[in-house]
Symmetry: C2
Subunit: 247 residues, 2 copies
């Protein structure tokens, strides 16, 4: 597994906090490194940024012809169904395996924040809500907000986890927020002209944040689509948000 | 009818934009003038601020023993039912009558924004959405967001407008947003520890903003209650938001 790591100049003087950036469908670790625009602000605030891949890779790894299943589409779950279960363990990879590698090999401290885009926003929210002792800051860009009720979710959760939908709820940001809430503020940006709004279902998460009295901001950004231009435009805001929470 | 008007120093040099601030239940024109904290930022940006009263006043005006009906509780509607219809015409008062007085007598231009708190947030959103040619900027503090489904709303809309609930829909921010949307961005602040959250129903408006792909920000502010301390804490943000839209 390949991952990207940005270390700010401050890391030369001692351990720095970490921001995890989880990418969306079809991405490798590289897309956000080159197009996300996080590094400049991370350098300013003295935060490391980790860019994991979105699925297992390699010749022996199961795949599907569709762009939204298999390689590039791990959905940040631990698959239980064949043929996926052999390698698709992206939840544990992010929460445990890669975290261990990062903490053991890089000059970072135990203050970790998490964010992500689209499928990665889904990953960030679901992983943070289920592991509040491990993450201290949470934001998302255009997350897949309610995958148990979306074609971006039902297909993948069914393939990876099987047909028992009660199991899927542990990977649905809206349902998890209703159950657990989040200890800090949550920052969510969503493009108002996003071409995938019907799949992302931001209204479910925004409504639940308000219903749950969840501190945070839900920002519907006029004119922005689903692209990395959108992510890049608000990357500095998110890094500053995490820096304030992690310092 | 008494109202408050703040004129910034820039008004000495020529007409300035206007921000309307609509107050909540029990307030007169005076509460926000003394406790809202809008003037300093309005002076900085060169914006006039108008503070209307919340109901007709005087000995011959109908009233009720409850704090949330009658004087101090006009709900920004034109009453059609006795005994209220004789004087309770607060919608027309804000949109037409007082606006005419302001435009004829004060050094203001035709760029108007509108905001308000609680019942006044309800007034601001409903008035702006129904009069998009007259208002160019919209925000709200802890608005009564879905009065047709709240005890802050059903009682008053029934008393002032009668029992035909289809008429009430023209005074419900969530329903109006669904029907019309808003041409610009909307800024909404809501205290996460507001003691009236069950009456305000922010989840209805936040969910509708996202469902409608309405550009704007819904901010759930951790620790804030329903008081003027809450309003004062974010008054500068709202004035700056309106200034950007009105300039």
């Amino acid at each position: 597994m390949t991952f990207g790591a940005y270390l700010p100049p401050q890391a030369e003087d001692g351990p720095v906090p970490v921001l995890w950036y989880l990418s969306g469908l079809t991405c490798t670790h590289e897309n956000a490194m080159t197009k996300g625009g996080f590094q400049e602000t991370a350098a300013h605030h003295g935060i490391a940024v980790i860019f994991p891949d979105t699925s297992p890779r390699g010749e022996g790894v199961a795949d599907d012809d569709a762009y939204d299943l298999g390689k590039g589409a791990g959905f940040y779950v631990n698959a239980t169904e064949a043929p996926w279960s052999a390698h698709y363990q992206m939840y544990d990879y992010v929460v445990k395996e890669l975290r261990g590698v990062v903490e053991e090999n890089l000059p970072v401290n135990d203050r970790h924040g998490i964010t992500g885009h689209s499928m990665g926003g889904h990953g960030a929210i679901t992983i943070a809500l289920r592991n509040p002792d491990s993450y201290h800051s949470l934001s998302a860009f255009a997350p897949i907000a309610h995958p148990t009720q979306s074609d971006w979710g039902r297909k993948q959760l069914g393939a990876y986890l099987g047909n028992d939908e009660s199991v899927w709820a542990e990977h649905d940001s809206t349902l998890l927020l209703e159950e657990y809430g989040w200890k800090g503020e949550i920052l969510v940006d969503q493009g108002a002209s996003d071409q995938f709004l019907d799949l992302l279902k931001p209204e479910a998460l925004a409504g639940m944040m308000a219903k749950r009295r969840q501190p945070g901001e839900f920002r519907m950004q006029r004119g922005y689509d689903h692209s990395y231009f959108f992510v890049n435009s608000f990357a500095a805001d998110h890094v500053a948000f995490h820096a304030a929470n992690l310092s």
